[in-house]
Symmetry: C3
Subunit: 206 residues, 3 copies
């Protein structure tokens, strides 16, 4: 992996972390958790997917261990956002969660696929690694909040969007597109497909 | 580990994957999940136990990474089984889950114990590795579907069967029985004990 | 790490295991689980945090694999405690859980921080490793029993105590205090703060 690509992946990862942390903040506040609860749920949502990916690919040090500024970033965001969250209207909160979550899904799925590709995993495994990286933080968030994970409930087209985005990345990679192009295209496909699905109430057949 | 034994273990593992995937398909359908939900739950049920085992034993590449055909197999089964599952009567579904789950439990427990033995783990740890490999996929399935895991509810004799099967494997191994014999005996003991317990409504004392 | 320190850490770890196992026994009994369920929940509560820590730090063999006597200890305790637990009054059970859990939290947080420090992790990551090691066993226990984890519910000051204890360890370590002193001070701070919080019904601001 070249240095430039590695930097790109890190920038994308940092954005995904912030996006997922926001969805964690809001969800935890709705469950009436206190400050530490809010921070911990945000931490788990933001780092869950990437940590599982690093464990499955046996990459060490873990990405948030190597970059402690990520954990500090979430900590700072938690302190800043708590007073703000108290005044957030519920309908707006819902919308922010959906948009933040859609971007987090796209960003992490693309990075996950890309890292699995770099580790020379077989094609279908790369796709599954991307999907797992993308969805797992949200799954942990929902399991901890004692709900059936969003991603498994009907009519959300959630994992399906990540699945499509991961394939797009691999196809572009196979066509020798520059990695930056492949990653950005994959993120855009996953996020916009997810937001469209929510907007238009698209559902998969049973 | 000899090549022949390794092949045997893989064949047993593949059967266990299919058995657990079936139980995952049916459980997810009962929760009204869509196609992707069904596939993902089946995937997690089928690979959860073995993945945890590989992580705990630090074996890499993971078994489903090395053999992407496993993940493709579940994908194909999901596509094939969805229309079929729609017409499945609920009482029959219940029975299929119990039989498939009993075989999956036996198959994975035996493989888990055997791999831990090959990695020269101490005896009691081998047993716990076998039990964890056997039960963990089902635990994840139930946690994701937001239920108290089957294995921890009363009167199911679930982990107990895996426990007995793992000890049988180790005893036969200690008596220098051929590995194939030890594995098949262990699978038969675990699965038949589990099916008998359900049939005869056997319970452990409180 | 010197041999003496390693022995100290192991002794502390063993105490934490027993404390958490007790909380697991009692919680599982309240959910009407049978003998194997009680053992398994205690096992997961006692080893969950340390196992996650070892996986995140990539330490192998895992602490309970290297010391199979730990797993046997829980097994023996389960056999011994079952008849005793049947006659335990509910109000007393509640108190034992809180005290055992407070000590487990303190013991595991201190060991987790200390091991992360030895592995030369950056400061904030050491704190998070300590907190994760301390709380994760209890989180798994509650997720398996299908409840919102204790640690995330309001007004418990749970992770906050571990957080304070981990910082104390690092500050004493930075002041070149002997490791034994730092560990014991950290354990005392975490446990007594947690028990005080429950006693005085202390809460964090929203």
């Amino acid at each position: 992996m070249h240095l430039g690509m590695s930097t790109l992946l890190q920038a994308v990862e940092a954005c995904g972390i912030v996006a997922f942390a926001c969805s964690g903040f809001i969800e935890a506040r709705r469950k009436q958790m206190d400050m530490v609860g809010v921070y911990t749920v945000a931490f788990i949502t933001a780092f869950g997917g990437g940590t599982l990916r690093d464990i499955l690919l046996d990459r060490r040090p873990l990405f948030w261990v190597e970059h402690q500024e990520y954990a500090l970033l979430i900590f700072g965001l938690a302190l800043l956002s708590i007073p703000f969250l108290r005044h957030l209207r519920s309908s707006l909160a819902e919308k922010i969660i959906i948009v933040a979550d859609a971007f987090g899904l796209g960003l992490f799925s693309a990075v996950g696929t890309s890292l699995a590709r770099d580790a020379q995993m077989p094609t279908f495994v790369c796709v599954m690694m991307g999907v797992i990286t993308g969805i797992f933080g949200g799954v942990l968030r929902d399991v901890i909040c004692n709900e059936i994970p969003l991603v498994f409930r009907r009519g959300h087209l959630y994992a399906t969007c990540a699945f499509a985005g991961c394939w797009l990345y691999l196809i572009l990679d196979w066509l020798h597109a520059p990695q930056a192009v492949a990653i950005i295209a994959s993120i855009l496909l996953t996020s916009s497909m997810r937001m469209l699905a929510v907007r238009l109430d698209l559902k998969l057949p049973d």
